[in-house]
């Protein structure tokens, strides 16, 4: 469990750190997936079907607000429906207009729901949406979810009947035939009982899940998921029994189970509480008494970064010790300036993970030439700080490892003959190491 929490915190930290890039990326992927699915299911207009066009549109969506994704998707759907017949285009246009005027004035933030809903239907797990929205959203999201459901059934209806709808319009082309087509399309689409049963069942599930997860009881989210999943099963089966909607029983059960599992993952990310540490406190201010139940979230403390400091000396008279605080038994001095801070941040990733041996110590002084670390830069740094003693160090650094004399295994510090004889030594060593670490 601890590992999972660590992974969760890692994912969160990565998202926070790279949010600037991750947000356009998910927008791009969502738009690309959505447009590709539209093209694959109702792709009747060949002009907007090629992949480069889809890629360009998805790229455009990645840098625009989320509402633009809906606009582009609607444009693609209308284009394909225009290729089917003018009546289909008219009805769909009116439907989109109704959605825009009646609903999206209130909840423009739910556009992602509208995009995801038809996709989840195609992936056979639409039951995830009411459960998930009940957990993380509010009952207002019912409207967006219902709109998404209607759009899916519209796409499905056109896909099923495209041949007859297109053929009669093209072949006859008379006004009366258009009227008949329009009426049959409206009747066939609006009288789809499966659609209305699904809309009603999902709305009920979302509201029930929302109400349960808001209850001040332990494990409210888990209870909400379970009750929502069972209610979803019951409502769809009852709807199927009453209106003969021809839902697949196995499909509904399997989809609901998968959706419930995914919701438990959602709970892990958004609502992981430690009920064993629940506290009940009471306090008051000038106007109210407060009776508070506080349940802490499950979090891990930030791991303490242990820094082993090398190449640090307080004055040149003393040798520079290359040992960890644990080895020497002394406490590491606090950093004194920004350079020291930078060194403390960089050094541990390479050296602090294991005890430092004699060879390591020598390498760290000699610019780590043997490990293949930029000897040229080390030598360059030395040229800027001329000095006989330092030259000997940098010279060793610049030479290949095979040509260097082997260091003594018992050496714990740089001999004074190799160290600088002035007070500049600590700064110089720091600068050399900074160059290496770059």
């Amino acid at each position: 469990m601890t590992t999972l929490v660590e992974i969760k915190q890692l994912i969160k930290s990565i998202y926070v750190r790279y949010e600037l890039w991750i947000t356009p990326l998910w927008k791009f992927l969502l738009s690309f997936l959505s447009l590709s699915l539209i093209n694959s299911h109702v792709g009747y207009l060949s002009a907007i079907k090629p992949t480069p066009i889809v890629l360009m549109c998805a790229l455009l969506c990645s840098f625009m607000p989320t509402g633009f994704m809906v606009f582009i998707s609607s444009f693609f759907i209308l284009g394909h429906f225009y290729a089917v017949s003018i009546e289909t285009l008219g009805v769909t246009l009116v439907l989109f207009l109704l959605m825009f005027l009646l609903y999206f004035r209130f909840g423009p933030g739910d556009t992602v729901v509208l995009m995801l809903m038809p996709m989840l239907f195609l992936f056979k797990i639409p039951y995830l949406m009411p459960l998930a929205l009940g957990l993380v959203a509010s009952p207002v999201s019912v409207a967006a979810m219902s709109c998404g459901t209607v759009i899916y059934y519209l796409l499905s209806y056109v896909q099923t009947n495209a041949t007859t709808m297109g053929a009669s319009s093209v072949a006859v082309g008379e006004d009366t035939e258009i009227v008949v087509q329009l009426r049959s399309f409206l009747t066939g689409f609006m009288m789809n009982r499966g659609m209305w049963v699904t809309v009603a069942a999902f709305a009920a599930v979302l509201i029930v899940v929302y109400l349960i997860r808001r209850l001040p009881v332990d494990h409210a989210w888990k209870a909400a998921i379970l009750v929502g999943a069972v209610l979803n099963l019951i409502l769809l089966m009852v709807g199927d029994f009453m209106y003969d909607t021809r839902f697949s029983f196995v499909g509904v059960v399997a989809g609901t189970l998968i959706s419930a599992l995914l919701c438990f993952i959602l709970e892990f990310f958004f609502f992981q509480l430690d009920y064993s540490r629940t506290e009940r406190v009471q306090f008051e201010d000038d106007e109210y008494f407060y009776y508070v139940k506080a349940v802490p979230k499950v979090t891990l403390a930030e791991p303490e970064r242990r820094v082993k400091k090398i190449n640090r000396a307080h004055n040149a008279a003393k040798p520079v010790h290359h040992t960890s605080s644990a080895q020497s038994g002394r406490r590491m001095p606090e950093p004194e300036d920004e350079e020291d801070e930078m060194l403390r941040e960089r050094v541990p990733s390479r050296t602090a993970s294991r005890p430092m041996g004699a060879a390591d110590r020598t390498r760290s002084v000699a610019g780590r030439t043997a490990a293949g670390r930029a000897p040229v830069r080390t030598a360059g740094a030395t040229v800027r700080q001329p000095g006989s003693a330092t030259r000997s160090v940098s010279g060793a650094a610049a030479r290949p490892a095979a040509h260097r004399p082997a260091p003594a295994a018992s050496t714990r510090s740089i001999p004074r003959t190799q160290a600088a004889s002035t007070d500049e030594m600590p700064d110089r060593v720091l600068r050399v190491n900074k160059d290496i670490n770059k």
């Binding site: 009805v91 009116v94 207009l97 209130f106 409206l186």
Partner: protein, 128 residues
């Protein structure tokens, strides 16, 4: 302070624009918009209905009580638009109430921040 900065960058702009209205003006403004939207929707649906039943309407046009038909259509329009506007009014009233709450919380935070900086004797430049 971080929360205040986040609020300022996210909801703050929208709330600031809305807070310039009195509550009644704000709600009325949106109800008028809702009436316009509902009217457009009603007309579009009527046109669609007429188009899809055009042949039947033309067959019975001389036998139809047009006044009765129109009066029932107007009644339907009033009921639908009234219901929609009532819904919109409730939604925008709740939004205005929540917005006021957020703004007052933000103002309280600003006041506390000012007291903190005053008590520490910092100038604006130091605090900024």
């Amino acid at each position: 302070m971080t929360r205040m900065a986040m609020f300022r960058q996210r909801e703050g702009r929208r709330d600031e624009a809305a807070s310039r209205y009195f509550p009644v003006d704000y709600i009325t403004h949106h109800i008028i918009g809702s009436v316009v939207c509902a009217t457009i929707v009603f007309l579009v649906v009527c046109v669609l209905y007429v188009l899809s039943h055009f042949d039947l309407i033309m067959q019975d046009i001389y036998n139809t009580d047009l006044v009765g038909f129109l009066s029932s259509a107007v009644r339907l329009y009033v009921v639908l638009t009234g219901g929609y506007c009532l819904f919109a009014g409730i939604i925008y009233a709740v939004r205005y109430y929540r917005m006021q709450k957020r703004i007052s919380t933000y103002a309280l935070g600003l006041r506390r921040l000012k007291e903190m900086t005053d008590s520490e004797g910092l100038t604006n430049d130091d605090a900024g």
